[in-house]
Symmetry: C2
Subunit: 474 residues, 2 copies
């Protein structure tokens, strides 16, 4: 084989040295030449027999290359008429997406985890184990409730770490808490539910999902003991959505008496509690707060996610349902979207079974705790008039600003420093009682070292807004 | 380090030989002992200092093990009070799911692909490349329309192989065609659409999804030229769902005149065509049938999936939308479920970019073609009175049975031979015209060699039902 081969009539040169298979070299050269326009549409290719002889390769090799490029649509052929470059008339887009331009703000919004902590190696290993071990049945259409093996792993994990009373057949796997909230909301609406109480501060996305499900969200006041569930009876709602272990974004856990009260309310009116345990794994200073679910499994829809502990990019979440809601939730799913990502679900099951999930949560907890300590210490030093809420747990805290400081000013000072965080008001439900100006500060700005620097900048932003307010007062 | 260590007071023996890290051995031994009940709830563990000395390992190693098992919920601890086995009161389920028992029928239903053909190695390699190359932004919350890189790869692939006119920003990625049909159906309903024509034979799941979206499915007759779209105007519908390139399950492609007619109808009434190109990659005997989408991109919702060519277990599908439907579809998604599985989507993008997807389609096409040939030849030999429909393409054919043979008898004869396939009637929409008795025979029964044996059994089943009918006639 000579060092540089050329294809007669096409002005294409192939480098067949270096031990690469000649078929692969020819395939790539032809594809690239069509893609970048060197081979114009309509150009006729040499017959396989002649090209094979010219290149000193087998005719089967050339035929195989033509077949592949025909299948990919680069070439066209008709029996007896030869092979030519496709007249696509379609601009073939670049295979790679363009890089998003412009400066990006460091994302310090509440509840957004640090994607740079994702355990890439452990995840690839889990996918490899899952794909190797998958049965042919597991590679087919998945169980509508989610892959059985993952549901078993979740039942064990949730019992051990969160005290959740779950059997695999009451667990439904979804692509995010949002999907499971949509399914549960629709199943409740189908049973006649209309009103649902939501904490007066929380995710507007969740309220939108409940409205789309046909429920009417009603704001429930939140104080130092969490949501005031004594109002539920008067509100006449059929359900309530609670972040009981760490109210989002105010950070208080639901008090012990209120836990008993909300269960008593649900029992007495046949109501349901949707418990969003979004960051239950992240406790720092106090003993774990138990779940509501363990108090009254028949009345609680427990929701959890891998998005915080692992990554949103894994795209898996779970619901533990009361017995009597399982069929309704799966019926709603049949009208929407069956879960199909069995390989993804199996990989997560392997991560749980190898205890890599727990291991990763521990590492993350240490990392977020350090960031939390950093923000807390920085604010205590530089903005002593600020008050911190919700620092005992979770991926964010709420910073009540010193007297006279405007939340918008703090947010703007953050943006000027390259940071994105939001005022507490951004989380207010319609009808929420106004609160002292505050910002919600997440610990998820990416890349461990930068995260601390970003935390310093956030403290600096709040300090700057405070100083500006002080100057105005003078 | 001695060969067998025992933990004082716990009757637990550790094998610290063999080069494994002592911490890992201790961790696994303790976890197993708690899980299987050898260490009862409430059992107090030795202090870290003493156990470390006994085992000849560092105190940090023992503390690390206790920390891990505390995090996993096997142990409990309180400062100053020591560490003990958790009083879970919760039965910890086995980590592995039980194997499903009982004999399983070989799945020869129409449209069900052979999961055993899944390219395990190529998929793991694509996941590894995707995870390695993912930016921190890509590991965070995904674009609501799907990961940009995948949408670019799809735009190129669909243009090359199916002539679809697509830009990345009109592509929406979903977890299956069902999800995308639900979103598109709801977006159309929100614009005021009410009636949607469906082919009189097709997937009942799709009709259920359209009904759940608020649309009313109306059956459209199917003949030798495909769906009779000349009826659309008289039906007064706002949209139509078509399997234009290979009617499911009857197998005819939509005729050239009808293609022009359906586009003219959509233009004249502002209607939409939902084109389910579920197996467009699988052509055997004739030149590719083009897509409707390429005739009228502003009026067609094009739907495709990786479930047939790759595996349902990948769980990804795509829609190419008319410009004016993009916002509506994403608005419906906001009320339901944002796509979160960025890693899965990135892996598929890498598979497209490396041309492994095309390569795999080619191999599969050859395999399914061989199975199709096998069934066709077997039936011609053994049941000459049967008539085959839809064999030019796809993963199934429809077998019209000889005169006097009942479809239920053929299905029962199949079940007696360990095969699952359905009568054509099972696919009939309400109002469908009755047809000659037939069964729909898929080529997806798993494992290449067994698949041919199963095909023989299917032919045998149809032959047996035919002979039984003949005997009755005598």
């Amino acid at each position: 084989v000579p060092e540089k081969q050329s294809i007669p009539g096409l002005d294409l040169h192939l480098d067949l040295t270096g031990g690469r298979r000649p078929g692969r070299v020819l395939e790539e050269a032809l594809r690239a030449a069509v893609a970048d326009g060197r081979l114009a549409p309509g150009t006729r290719l040499p017959p396989t027999r002649g090209l094979a002889a010219d290149l000193g390769v087998s005719r089967a090799t050339v035929a195989e290359v033509y077949e592949q490029l025909l299948a990919e649509g680069w070439l066209r052929a008709r029996v007896g008429a030869g092979t030519w470059v496709a007249q696509s008339g379609v601009p073939v887009p670049a295979a790679r997406a363009p890089q998003a331009g412009g400066p990006r703000l460091a994302d310090m919004r509440g509840g957004v985890p640090d994607a740079s902590l994702f355990p890439r190696r452990a995840w690839v290993a889990a996918v490899r184990r899952a794909v190797d071990a998958a049965t042919v049945a597991e590679l087919g259409y998945a169980d509508p409730a989610g892959v059985v093996r993952l549901r078993h792993a979740l039942a064990g994990y949730l019992a051990r770490t969160r005290g959740v009373l779950a059997e695999a057949d009451r667990i439904v796997v979804g692509h995010g808490v949002g999907e499971l909230l949509a399914l549960a909301g629709r199943a409740l609406a189908a049973r006649g539910a209309r009103g649902i109480a939501v904490e007066e501060y929380g995710h507007s996305e969740h309220r939108a999902i409940l409205r789309a499900a046909g429920l009417e969200p009603v704001a429930l006041p939140v104080d130092g003991e969490g949501a005031d569930v004594s109002r539920l009876a008067a509100l006449g709602v059929d359900a309530v959505l609670l972040t009981a272990s760490h109210q989002f974004p105010l950070g208080v856990p639901l008090g012990a008496r209120r836990r008993r009260d909300v269960v008593a309310w649900a029992d007495s009116v046949g109501g349901y509690v949707l418990e969003d345990d979004y960051d239950g794994e992240f406790r720092y200073d106090r003993r774990p707060v138990g779940t509501l679910q363990s108090l009254a499994p028949p009345r609680i829809v427990y929701l959890g996610t891998a998005s915080k502990a692992l990554s949103p990019a894994v795209g898996l979440a779970w619901a533990v349902l009361p017995d009597e809601l399982v069929a309704g939730v799966l019926a709603e799913r049949a009208g929407l979207s069956q879960p199909r990502d069995a390989l993804n679900q199996l990989a997560l099951a392997h991560l749980f079974e190898a205890h890599d999930y727990d291991r990763h949560v521990r590492r993350q907890r240490a990392e977020y705790r350090a960031r939390r300590d950093h923000v807390t210490a920085g604010l205590a030093r530089r903005v002593p008039g600020a008050r911190l809420l919700g620092v005992a747990a979770g991926l964010q805290c709420t910073v009540e600003l010193p007297m006279g400081v405007d939340a918008a000013a703090a947010v703007a000072a953050g943006a000027a420093r390259g940071l994105l965080f939001l005022p507490l008001d951004a989380y207010a439900a319609p009808g929420a009682a106004p609160r002292r100006p505050a910002v919600v500060l997440g610990f998820g700005a990416s890349l461990a070292v930068r995260a601390l620097a970003d935390a310093d900048l956030a403290v600096d932003a709040i300090a700057a807004a405070t100083e500006a307010a002080d100057r105005e007062l003078d």
